[in-house]
């Protein structure tokens, strides 16, 4: 498929919480295959709510298309195969007793035979440098290892798009550096929600800025950070 073809297209996305608060007020967004985009903005500006719409966890009003398929209840499973979602707290994501079983979860859910699921899980663990920890319980790992195990669980599903929600929150600088190197070597389209501007600038060229449920700026990350006064200086 062409690199100029949008892999995600969102038009007029609106969402209200149950208490009536408007979380997304008509978001338009497009990203091309292989592109990397940072989603910046204050806490509560709608970034995570927006991401949770891309794989149908939340349902708002508007049009969403992923890899050429319009998102609907009928094709949720198919769409979720295409988007790998890395959550902020890996503890939420690692719900099986051992790392290997957790990483093999998505391939098995996709219907892979056991041996193939195991092979994909081990390949993903090897890639994130955790092959020797495959049989350990997730709660025995350090925060950095947990984050890498969660990433392996996402990659084992072989998604076309990676969505990362605050992936550096629990990481010390060496773990952050190692995650950066891992992510930088991936070919997938990447959406990154973060407050860590330095991390975002190393990984992505483009950024969009969320404010009160709207995208108010879209462009080169340095320009967005400068114009929205989003750097520490």
């Amino acid at each position: 498929m062409s690199h100029h073809q949008p892999i995600i297209e969102v038009r007029g996305l609106r969402y209200r919480y149950e208490d009536g608060t408007e979380a997304l007020c008509g978001v338009d967004f497009m990203v091309h295959r292989g592109e990397r985009v940072s989603l910046l903005g204050a806490n509560g500006s709608g970034k995570t709510t927006f991401l949770l719409h891309l794989n149908g966890i939340l349902h708002g009003e508007g049009y969403i298309e992923v890899a050429g398929t319009e998102l609907s209840k009928a094709n949720l499973k198919q769409i979720r195969r295409k988007i790998g979602f890395l959550f902020q707290d890996p503890e939420d994501q690692l719900f099986l007793p051992t790392v290997l079983e957790d990483v093999a979860f998505a391939p098995l859910e996709q219907g892979c035979p056991v041996e193939e699921a195991k092979r994909r899980a081990m390949a993903a663990l090897e890639w994130v440098g955790l092959a020797s920890d495959a049989h350990r319980a997730p709660h025995r790992l350090s925060a950095g290892q947990r984050q890498r195990a969660a990433l392996a669980g996402v990659l084992a599903a072989e998604p076309e798009i990676l969505v990362l929600d605050e992936p550096t929150t629990h990481l010390d600088p060496p773990s952050r550096r190692s995650l950066l190197a891992l992510l930088d070597s991936l070919p997938q389209t990447l959406l990154l929600v973060t407050h860590d501007v330095a991390f975002a600038a190393r990984l992505t060229r483009r950024a969009v800025f969320f404010d009160h449920g709207r995208i108010v700026a879209d462009g080169p990350i340095q320009t967005i950070v400068r114009e929205s006064h989003w750097s520490l200086d």
Binding site: L52, N55, I57, K77, R80, R81, I83, F85, F87, D89, E91, D92, Q93, F95, L96, P97, L100, E101, A104, F105, A106, L108, E109, Q110, V114, A117, K118, A121, H139, G153, V154, A157
Partner: protein, 201 residues
């Protein structure tokens, strides 16, 4: 005939004991430690056994003690020899409702997360000069409950995002090996003998 009953009881206990000990040995577990852990139920059943003895029914007292001890040993053995995910999958295969299996599985996985949070809250309270008071304990439970509910929602999102539904696929499929058939046969035979002899009345 009480003496005959007691002999039957001893034979029954010995048979069950032999099966459990054989299972512990074949699982390469420390037999003595497993057997000793079975006595954890003694404070509970010991009281009832004592009452039965005082009532003049030593056979019933002995029966109560041995039954509860053997049951506890069986549970300890099961927990020590069977990985939890296989235990849960087995329960599911035996017809336990899926919802119940999933709840137990998630409780087990996230219990340590809840305890870690409880510990952080205790340290934070102590750091701010808090004391052990009932009002703190109740509010701690309320906060823990609210944050566990929020975590449950996030875990569910993560499960859905990875294409999951409501049950966990097994990486190591369940199969019956010859040793499982042998254990099942021995257990059934022993149960039949006990019923016929009236040993564990």
């Amino acid at each position: 005939m009480p003496a005959r009953d007691t002999v039957s009881l001893c034979l029954g206990v010995a048979a069950a004991f032999a099966i459990l000990a054989a299972a512990a040995i074949s699982a390469r577990l420390p037999v003595l430690s497993i057997l000793a852990r079975g006595w954890v139920v003694l404070p509970f059943t010991g009281l009832f056994a004592l009452l039965a003895w005082i009532e003049g029914d030593p056979h019933r007292a002995l029966s109560l003690l041995s039954k509860s001890w053997l049951s506890a040993v069986a549970v300890v053995l099961l927990m020590a020899s069977t990985p939890l995910e296989r235990l849960f999958a087995g329960l599911e295969k035996m017809g336990l409702p899926l919802l119940l299996v999933s709840v137990v599985q998630f409780v087990w996985r996230y219990l340590h997360v809840a305890f870690a949070q409880l510990d952080r809250m205790r340290i934070a309270r102590a750091a701010r000069g808090g004391e052990h008071r009932f009002v703190f304990a109740t509010s701690t439970v309320a906060v823990l409950f609210a944050s566990s509910a929020a975590r449950a929602e996030r875990v569910h999102w993560a499960l859905l995002s990875r294409g999951g539904e409501s049950h966990f696929p097994l990486l190591y499929p369940l199969t019956m090996r010859w040793v499982d058939y042998a254990f099942l046969a021995a257990a059934l035979l022993s149960a039949a003998l006990l019923v016929v002899s009236g040993g564990l009345r």
